[in-house]
Subunit: 457 residues, 2 copies
């Protein structure tokens, strides 16, 4: 009989219900969370900094002065924000430069086709390449007409379904077209909506296959050419790309941290990518994510909130066309700082700073439960929902080595309208939504850094 | 006593309730209406014709070959559609030609500003005009800083409220800026939304005031420049416009009619404007309206429906930058055909062919009641609502001379996203909505042409 009570007790304590019920949040955590939300929602700092950066420096493409000037300004400004340490990490990045470029429909009638060459594309000869066009909607269609491709320009008119599926024509389109002898390839811009708005983005070559020029025209014009083609018209286009690939150049990851008061070696890393494409202002992709992560920690400093664990803001460079910043940070963490095991959680925002919903999390069940509890404190701004599965490109290398990771989830209905286009500009951002993103990142980072229990892997 | 019955009867017959209750529609009218709706909704003809015209000829600007080629094709095609008569009416139209053009932000940093010069603008010297920019949000603001305008470029960053209110900066902006010594003027594109999409449109000069170049940049860039300006930055822009105004050239109104079987001299006129701006495809503004009016009558021909009164389709030329087609038709009706009194109703579609709601009507109460009754037959596609007030630019001259007029009312939420931009293209049009527009125009035109009672003025 004397064993009955301990057994019953241990069964109860180990039951999932009790585990769930055991709260990780103290009253102070809950109070701090509300302070962070209030402070974020009443502040103009994030908005003003993002606007200032975007307006002053313009888009921040890898290899550009704009990017390095932005980083200089960030570092200078961060140094007055109460961080314990601010530093940069050198990263060699690709240096592709867009030149004069155009696409012109020559037949059946002359028409200028607004376009953007894709990042990394080789140039055409001066004056461009004029050739007959073969239009396909998919790689399957290309396969069926592969005998007719030689000497032509392939136009992929692939309708947007999801980014992941449709982007393959941007990424691999030049390789597949060149395999069958095409002299150039063109894609329909990868996006669900267009107002004559071409999208750029990264693309690959294969060393075994001839490198041909690769560009994006608008959805409108791709659909127009498809219709003309379907009516039996002979399509001819001049594609002119005077881009250059220069030697790799030095950029930097920006890192700023506040040291944990009890477990300074345990790190919550949070950020976005500071580089953007070379069009628009790189606001949604991903200036907003960077400024939100930075501001989240600045608010803690301003409120005098000092969490137990270290919170580190990282603004990775060169996500767009290389991911070199993410790789370098990961290498440094593993080989130099030797802190991989102590990376408790990696947080990224790279889906735009629209109205936030919560986070998508990849990690253990127990960690998911803890994060879900933390999410309840965001009820006032309805942004605390934690869903399973999520992460980000820049935290990918850490996550593959076992670090739990999560990505900010926002109302994504217009993200792909803007990203990689000239329309990714400040006016698309709603200040209140943006401040809610700041608050959401602040509350999660703070709570994970301050709760007694280390977020289990 | 013998007078009592007739008096009572006449009081009853003349009472408003009886007037209202007295139906103008026979069962045959109701049947024909349903046939027209069914036929329109099941047809690809309107869609295919509009697509063919827009794709083959491109935008149809006054003075362009595109416009005249489109008109040739329309006339040829109409001649096989069972109309009693198809003809064109010569109209001399303005001939302004867009040339090479650009706007470049020079200070505080270099940036290409996507732009469209406004229709009728004078050119800049070769290489453009480079000048400091003064930014104002309204004519009131301009008035306050008028002493600083001399030698500068005025940028009107007027936020879109309604088209009618905001378009004044496009129409009169150059005059007001030049009055104070500006060397050029630029507007924020007149529209509620932009994805780096400049809007063109018509503008005026005043013979008493110096003519200065006038152009539109995107909403995004106007807002960017406003922010830079508000931060105290010196703004400098190079504006380069190589447009030319050539001598007036001949265009044509297209007219096609089916003769009424009982009152052939009584005319219901219905149409849109066949010209467009010189960008995009002029689909919503106003190719769709033209094809819808044409198709509405073609469907009657196909169904063998022969109304009592004449229905005349008119595709007016040069609405956009002159209204010369509308004026010539009106002159001809008054002075040559002498049919003004017999113009029973004028119907226009020029608000896009989005999901139709009904018509906005300007005319007598009794006519409004009749039209409202006709509208009930459109219940299956919910497009029969008649509201008070409405018309159109091309039927304006007729309406000012007393002809009842009405304009198709559609879901207008995106009309000003596209109109006068490169994004006014086929892909923005939903085939079902478009067919509903056809059906709506067909039913109203047919019923007004066939009911016993002539629509009273």
């Amino acid at each position: 009989m004397k064993y009955i009570l301990p057994i019953l007790l241990s069964v109860f304590l180990l039951s999932p219900d009790f585990m769930k019920a055991q709260s990780v949040l103290t009253n102070q955590h809950k109070e701090h969370a509300q302070q962070l939300i209030q402070k974020a929602m009443g502040s103009d700092v994030a908005w003003e900094r993002l606007t200032y950066m975007a307006d002053t420096f313009g888009p921040r493409f890898s290899g550009s002065e704009n990017l390095e000037n932005s980083i200089d300004w960030i570092v200078e400004t961060m140094e007055e924000d109460g961080f314990d340490k601010v530093w940069t990490q050198p990263v060699m990045v690709p240096h592709w430069v867009r030149g004069e470029e155009s696409a012109t429909l020559l037949s059946p009638r002359k028409k200028d086709l607004p376009m953007l060459s894709l990042g990394g594309s080789v140039a055409t000869p001066e004056g461009g390449i004029s050739a007959e066009v073969i239009v396909v909607k998919s790689f399957d269609e290309l396969e069926k007409v592969k005998d007719q491709v030689e000497g032509k320009i392939v136009l992929y008119n692939a309708e947007f379904t999801s980014y992941g599926r449709t982007v393959q024509y941007r990424v691999n389109g030049a390789i597949e077209a060149a395999r069958h002898g095409a002299v150039a390839s063109i894609i329909r811009s990868v996006g669900p909506y267009s107002m004559q708005t071409p999208h750029t983005g990264t693309m690959y070559y294969d060393d075994e296959v001839k490198k041909i020029p690769h560009a994006a025209i608008t959805i409108e014009d791709a659909m127009l050419i498809q219709r003309l083609y379907d009516r039996g018209e002979k399509i001819e286009i001049n594609l002119n790309i005077q881009a250059r690939t220069l030697p790799d150049t030095e950029s930097r990851n920006v890192i700023a941290e506040i040291k944990g008061t009890e477990f300074p070696e345990e790190i919550i890393v949070m950020g976005g990518h500071i580089d953007s494409w070379d069009v628009g202002q790189g606001v949604m992709d991903d200036g907003g994510g960077c400024i939100a992560a930075w501001e989240a920690v600045r608010l803690m400093n301003e409120l005098g909130i000092k969490p137990k664990r270290t919170i580190r803001v990282v603004l990775w460079t060169n996500e767009e066309n290389g991911l070199r910043g993410a790789e370098e940070y990961h290498r440094w963490v593993k080989e130099e700082e030797k802190s991989l095991e102590n990376h408790v959680l990696a947080i990224e925002s790279d889906a735009g700073v629209f109205d936030p919903i919560g986070f998508g999390f990849s990690g253990s069940e127990r960690a998911y439960d803890i994060l879900s509890e933390i999410g309840t404190t965001l009820q006032p701004i309805e942004s605390g929902q934690v869903t399973k599965g999520g992460g980000g490109a820049d935290i990918g290398p850490l996550m593959r080595d076992g670090v739990p990771g999560m990505g900010l989830v926002v109302d994504g209905s217009r993200y792909f309208w803007y990203h990689h286009t000239g329309a990714d500009t400040m006016d698309k951002l709603n200040k209140e939504d943006f401040n809610e993103c700041v608050a959401t990142m602040a509350v999660f980072a703070y709570a994970v850094a301050d709760i007694e229990e280390r977020l289990p892997r």
